[in-house]
């Protein structure tokens, strides 16, 4: 079966006063039906920009999608005209965003904000849309949905607002839900509730999910596959089990080491990754992780490794010249 969504060589840049920022550099991946794909990386690694680019939601200017294709239901989303991409947005592919406090319009009721998509994409009448909105609010477990539909966003807590965002995103039964760090702005107990809610809705509705986060812990319990991004490149991709059990990219290793583990036998120290991500205006010729890498070899400086399969593991790919399982780490 062909994947639901195929992204090939997606490249997005931003024209700024200091120069061209290479935010996304030829990202390719597939998303299968019903699958949850985790996208992991630190701030500014291009994970949000690449996913926003799929729906062409990056602000232009300064942003520009300069290459690649996004195949969805046999069409390239990057080539659609404005009217056609709008029929995809919120309808076939929906998004939820990081900060529920600012992502809802403060001057419109949540009922108005949810039902406008229903009226637009599903041609519902005002009354039908209202009924469906109440159902959706119940679906995301908002108590007293009938009366709360007339409330404004400021009358909801952060967690409740994120539920509203989810209800809004799921209103038109999308095939794909892109969740852009939906739990980052919430406190930990609310995070867990939102993750549970998404799992439950995934079971009931069967949509595919792209879950962007910098929290490897959340992805572990939620995603089927994970891809790790660094400096606008995908550096490693694997099934969720393989990625945690058998990481192959020095960056992934570093991320995992900086995470506390409950199953650690000894009291291991957490080791942060030294250094900072590279300047995306002047990308290095070779591997962008080279300056921070503890497995680096001379070749890394001249050639940026492409993503290639890891022997013996189905679907595990890594972009590194070095086999980290075979080499000693250089300790600086």
């Amino acid at each position: 079966m062909a994947p639901l969504l195929q992204v090939r060589g997606l490249t997005t840049i931003f024209d700024t006063q200091d120069g061209v920022v290479h935010a996304v550099n030829g990202v390719s991946f597939d998303l299968n039906e019903g699958e949850t794909l985790g996208v992991v990386g630190e701030s500014g690694c291009g994970k949000s920009v690449s996913m926003l680019s799929i729906l062409r939601l990056i602000p232009e200017p300064p942003g520009r999608i300069v290459g690649g294709e996004v195949l969805f239901e046999g069409r390239d989303l990057l080539k659609l005209d404005q009217n056609e991409i709008r029929k995809i947005r919120g309808n076939k592919i929906a998004m939820i965003f990081q900060d529920p406090m600012t992502s809802l319009n403060p001057v419109l009721t949540i009922g108005q904000q949810i039902s406008e998509a229903l009226e637009l994409h599903l041609n519902m009448t005002k009354e039908e849309a209202r009924q469906r909105t109440i159902e959706l609010l119940r679906l995301v477990h908002i108590p007293e949905a009938e009366s709360r539909v007339n409330d404004y966003p400021h009358q909801f807590s952060g967690g409740m607002r994120q539920r509203v965002m989810i209800a809004m995103a799921l209103s038109c039964n999308p095939k794909v839900l892109i969740a852009d760090e939906p739990t980052t702005a919430l406190d930990v107990t609310i995070q867990a509730q939102i993750v549970d809610l998404v799992k439950e809705l995934r079971r009931e509705l069967g949509m595919a999910i792209i879950w962007i986060t910098h929290d490897l812990g959340i992805v572990a319990g939620l995603a089927h596959r994970v891809q790790v991004m660094y400096a606008g490149y995908i550096v490693e991709r694997a099934n969720v089990h393989d990625l945690y059990a058998n990481p192959r990219h020095p960056y992934t290793l570093g991320l995992l080491r900086s995470l506390p583990r409950l199953d650690a036998r000894t009291r291991e120290k957490l080791t942060p990754i030294e250094g900072l991500p590279p300047d995306l205006i002047t990308l290095p010729l070779g591997c962008p992780f080279y300056p921070r890498c503890s497995y680096r070899v001379p070749r890394c400086l001249d050639e940026n490794p492409a993503l290639h399969a890891v022997d013996g593991q189905d679907g595990h790919e890594v972009a590194c010249w070095v086999d980290v399982t075979q080499r000693e780490e250089i300790r600086a």
Binding site: L57, R86, N105, E116, Y152, H154, M165, M168
Partner: protein, 315 residues
């Protein structure tokens, strides 16, 4: 909401009492009096005039007479509380009430049209400039705005007359009464305000269209027109509403300069000349009237806030 409005109206009373006190004190603190001339009046005549108008009374008595709390020299309660603002010393035959009745409608009419021009031009220009940021339309709108802000109406008025009245002959040079006579003064008065509104609308709109909820609206698949009208405009208008209050009061009460240039029989002239003439009742009457306009305009703005932004809630 009703309770809030009642409370706000009640709280205007101390504000207005304070303003009346300050105006009264300042007007009387200015050296000279209403009957001082280059060629001094005979002392007896001056004394008679002062007695007639009650200016020989102690200051506190003059104030309470003016407010209408005590009997004035004619033996009646005739003050602000009775809606009587007293006589005008310089135009003898008329009271301040007569002046208001004759000239305030003219200024109000001029102010109303100026405000229409200010909002009608300023808001669309600001929106276009923000939506087409750094394009021709942006620069065009902001060029008009900078022109409007930096060219005072004392320059603008004569330029209008020169171009549109004398050269092109579209409008009469001056005067008041016909719609054609209102066009140039209304523009001369309103252009400055429209420029302010345009700049504020642009800044506010630029901020709003970068908000997360605008991205959410786009992610829903809404057409750009709907995103702007439904999701951005109401939010962007909140700061603009703030300046509309004082602007409304200022335009409504007219301006001396524009009224002079276009020979318009408005309030502005009386406001200015009454000060040099030490025409105390006119000075105090006009100031108090402007103050009332200003507090009412601000109340309207605050009520508008609650309508625009559901987060603002008055108890």
């Amino acid at each position: 909401m009703t309770r809030y409005i009642i409370r706000r109206i009640l709280s205007m009373i101390p504000v207005l009492i304070f303003i009346s006190l300050v105006t009264f004190a300042l007007a009387h603190a200015v050296p000279g009096g209403p009957f001082d001339r280059e060629k001094p009046l005979p002392a007896e005549i001056k004394a008679n005039l002062n007695r007639y108008y009650g200016l020989d009374q102690p200051l506190w008595k003059q104030y309470t007479d003016w407010i209408g709390l005590t009997r004035n020299p004619s033996g009646e309660y005739a003050g602000v509380l009775q809606f009587k603002f007293g006589p005008s010393y310089s135009s003898r035959s008329r009271t301040v009430n007569d002046i208001f009745r004759a000239h305030l409608p003219v200024s109000a009419q001029l102010g109303f049209w100026a405000l229409c021009i200010a909002v009608g031009m300023g808001v669309p220009l600001g929106i276009i400039a923000a939506l087409k940021q750094n394009s021709f339309w942006d620069y065009f709108s902001m060029a008009i705005a900078i022109f409007g802000v930096s060219v005072p109406n004392i320059v603008l008025g004569p330029i209008f007359i020169l171009i549109f009245a004398l050269t092109l002959g579209w409008f009469p040079v001056a005067g008041w009464g016909t719609p054609a006579q209102m066009v140039m003064p209304a523009f001369a008065l309103g252009l400055n305000s429209s420029a302010l509104i345009a700049r504020l609308t642009r800044a506010s709109m630029l901020q709003v269209i970068r908000e997360d909820y605008i991205r959410t609206a786009r992610a829903k698949g809404l057409a750009e027109r709907v995103v702007i009208i439904r999701h951005a405009l109401k939010n962007a208008f909140i700061p603009v509403a703030t300046i509309l209050g004082p602007m409304f009061a200022a335009l409504l009460t007219g301006t001396f300069v524009v009224e002079q240039i276009f020979a318009i029989p408005g309030m502005g002239k009386y406001f200015i000349t009454s000060i040099t003439n030490r025409d105390y009742p006119v000075v105090m009457g006009t100031t108090l009237l402007y103050a009332v306009f200003l507090v009412i305009a601000n109340l309207i703005v605050d009520i508008t806030y609650a309508y625009l932004d559901p987060r603002i809630h008055y108890e």
